[in-house]
Symmetry: C2
Subunit: 462 residues, 2 copies
């Protein structure tokens, strides 16, 4: 049985003040802001928010909470999409935003160590003069700590991997306040259980990640981008499959469906064909990039790809990518006043055309208004449902649609979430996906957090 | 306290016979063979060896052992190097060699599912007509199950990653006989704790891996190889650093030290310079491979690299790589009758030259005869100590040298093992490396294997 969560009392507030001084708030506005993310999920404010500035402070805060069995909810930038930061049982939110220091950059080793509150944009700005960059780019301006905790990815995972592949080591505050480092800085190791990968994607339920060592990459000598429209989604996806199979180390392949292209044409005053469209980016030497673009153009042409446009100058590339960058806002503009409910499944690439085609047919039968965008090189796509949060029946239909989508993906050997995580929004889908293995996850949760104080009510029920 | 291991009795033998019929042996020769690996560690034979042919059989065997609290030791090809298969507390060895079926190949998704006993050579032979291959190549003819359990890598991890990056999903028999699948076939997922990565590298201590789904890669259109000698190890390693930093997607960079080059010249009748030498391999299109070789040649020339030789035809490449392939046998031939004690550390690449230089100086002060080979693109290298197992003082000096080497690597933010694993040979080094984090590993071990029957006495003490 779950341990009933204790509530925050004056004694705990006093203990927290001893650690963080005035960097603590119980104001309704601050608590409310820390109980919501960017999703459609109902906010659940914590009882108190503390703003930590070091691993030691986090350890002290967790110890104070552990002693009193009060829930601890880590908070990065609040950009998650499955209710990860909701304080379902009240408790103490630890805002890590002020832990925004780049601790070390080792250019020779192509790695950097950052505090959890550093955002990806901040890190890349910091790295500007080193010739290195950190590639993982979820849509939001997320913190590296949050990206690690949700095993995030983004548009260029097809080339550079996700947070799973790009975190080298972590400093983690455990549920009893002990501090561990999960790994050394060596690029590979066979020394014991892979604690780094266990904490990547653990969503604050096993401990608080306070420092992250990341792989960096050399900024490519040349970058080129290309856009190409296709008669059908299947043609576009088959182009993706052949591109990947041919070994072209494409950095990005993004799909926008017909409705999404119409939306961006209207929103951004562009004149792209109203058809399923792929956006590509290639990284490498001048010669390699040209060669990659030629190969892909030939593959696309065989599958009915038209108006293959490509660009190498930064300003031309930016123009080319504008439609992709504006996709979410363009979708929201289709229905002023709505909220975006962003789904997130990922299937083996061989099933992607089928999955998107069936999903499009499902959408056409439903009253929902939606667009589709996808990191299709990985088999990952999102349906952006434009819903009115005040219309209960519409929300219910969105829920049913989302469930059908997840079950369709699972039936194709896919996953219920490619990059957004479980939070409390997808706990039932986790069981549908993993079955007996959820019992192993629960055993790990109980072993590392016996009192269930670390972000309780997320990922697994205990 | 550890649960004292129960011993195999007639009742258990009877229960095992009901599962595997005649595929069971208690003969001294069979047990002895299954208690030894390829290392210098003392063999510890199990009480009985069963030859499993399916996941169901493995589940039945583990259940029978669990009921009686008898240890279970999974056995692949017996090529491990830290005593992983030693039956320290007796028990039942499950030989998975007969689980040698390729279950499925999905060329469109570039993945394959194999039973644990399939070897990497077998898999690549099977894949020959698909245009795909599986890149991970530890020195030995290991089984994929064993490679997964030790988080193995090899010469081309610098390009393709290790088993950590290349396993997509596992079927695992848990300590109580339950069977789980750790993941779907989708290329990425944020659905719950990363059980796949937890079992990769768990060395049979958390469960028995019976099926593995692997990433595959397209066979490159062109492959070229190059060899280059350097004045010093530092020059060679600096060439490696600059190559990696320049973004050249080199597939292999292997270092052989001066003594190793002398050994292969003698052993294989070659005429390479007796100097620290790098062996490169490049994968890509014809143009890309030529461009990569040019870039590397320019970097090497700046650092005193001489006699840069390169080859693109298969037979010329094979000739070029012969020195590397023969390295172990050439070393052993330096001292007929000796055994090779192969160490295995990995450091951040910025510290590699320093680590190898200090290690070479250490060797020169010791009476030990040794060669150095390294997967230097990852910062990983091996010292092959040529020891007479009957000379206790020599073994003691090898132990002291190995400890100095590990402590040197740890002081440089490296790991005590890049690819061989912990087994029972490096358990103290694991504590030196991970400190408090070993407590987390122990908590996981106890949660998933409360009776400590899964390969007991390896990785963590309970």
């Amino acid at each position: 049985m779950a341990v009933e969560a204790a509530r925050v009392n004056d004694d705990l507030i006093e203990a927290l003040r001893e650690i963080v001084g005035p960097r603590l708030s119980t104001s309704a506005a601050v608590c409310e802001q820390h109980g919501r993310d960017e999703s459609y999920h109902t906010p659940h404010p914590p009882d108190v928010v503390v703003f930590a500035e070091s691993t030691d402070e986090v350890a002290g805060i967790v110890k104070a909470c552990a002693r009193r069995q009060v829930p601890v909810i880590p908070f990065g930038a609040g950009t998650s999409l499955e209710g990860h930061v909701a304080a379902l049982h009240g408790g103490v939110c630890i805002d890590l935003g002020a832990m925004d220091q780049v601790v070390a950059v080792n250019p020779e080793d192509m790695d950097a160590t950052v505090q959890a509150g550093v955002t990806r944009a901040q890190l890349n700005t910091y790295l500007r003069d080193t010739g290195l960059f950190f590639p993982i780019d979820p849509g939001a301006e997320a913190s590296i700590g949050g990206m690690t905790a949700t095993r995030a990815s983004g548009t260029n995972a097809v080339r550079y991997g996700t947070m799973r592949e790009n975190v080298l080591a972590l400093i983690v505050v455990l549920a009893d306040g002990r501090v561990i480092r999960t790994s050394r800085r060596a690029r590979k190791s066979s020394a014991g259980y892979d604690l780094t990968r266990l904490f990547v994607g653990s969503e604050g339920t096993l401990g608080v990640i306070t420092e992250i060592t990341l792989r960096l990459y050399g900024i490519p000598e040349a970058i080129s981008a290309a856009v190409c429209a296709f008669p059908t989604v299947a043609d576009a996806v088959n182009t993706v499959i052949l591109t990947i199979q041919s070994g072209v180390p494409v950095a990005r392949i993004e799909l926008l469906d017909k409705r999404q292209m119409e939306a961006v044409n209207t929103y951004s005053d562009l004149e792209y064909a109203a058809a399923p469209t792929l956006f590509f980016e290639f990284h490498g030497t001048e010669r390699a990039v040209a060669e990659q673009a030629e190969t892909v153009q030939a593959i696309a042409a065989d599958l009915g790809g038209e108006n293959f446009a490509w660009a190498t100058r930064p300003e031309d590339r930016d123009k080319l990518w504008k439609a992709r960058h504006d996709a979410l806002y363009a979708s929201l503009a289709l229905r002023p006043g709505c909220r975006g409910w962003v789904t997130d499944v990922c299937v083996p690439i061989s099933r992607l055309a089928e999955c998107i085609t069936e999903t499009t047919a499902d959408l056409e039968k439903s009253p929902l208004i939606a667009t589709i965008v996808g990191h299709v090189g990985d088999g990952n796509f999102h349906v952006v449902l434009l819903v009115d949060p005040d219309q209960a029946e519409e929300i219910a239909e969105a829920e049913r649609f989302n469930e059908r989508l997840v079950m369709r993906a699972l039936a194709m050997d896919g996953t219920c979430t490619g990059e957004h995580g479980i939070g409390h929004g997808k706990m039932d889908f986790l069981i549908a996906e993993h079955g007996e293995a959820v019992g192993v996850m629960r055993a790990i949760k109980q072993a590392l957090d016996p009192d269930n104080i670390m972000n309780p009510g997320k990922i697994v029920r205990v």
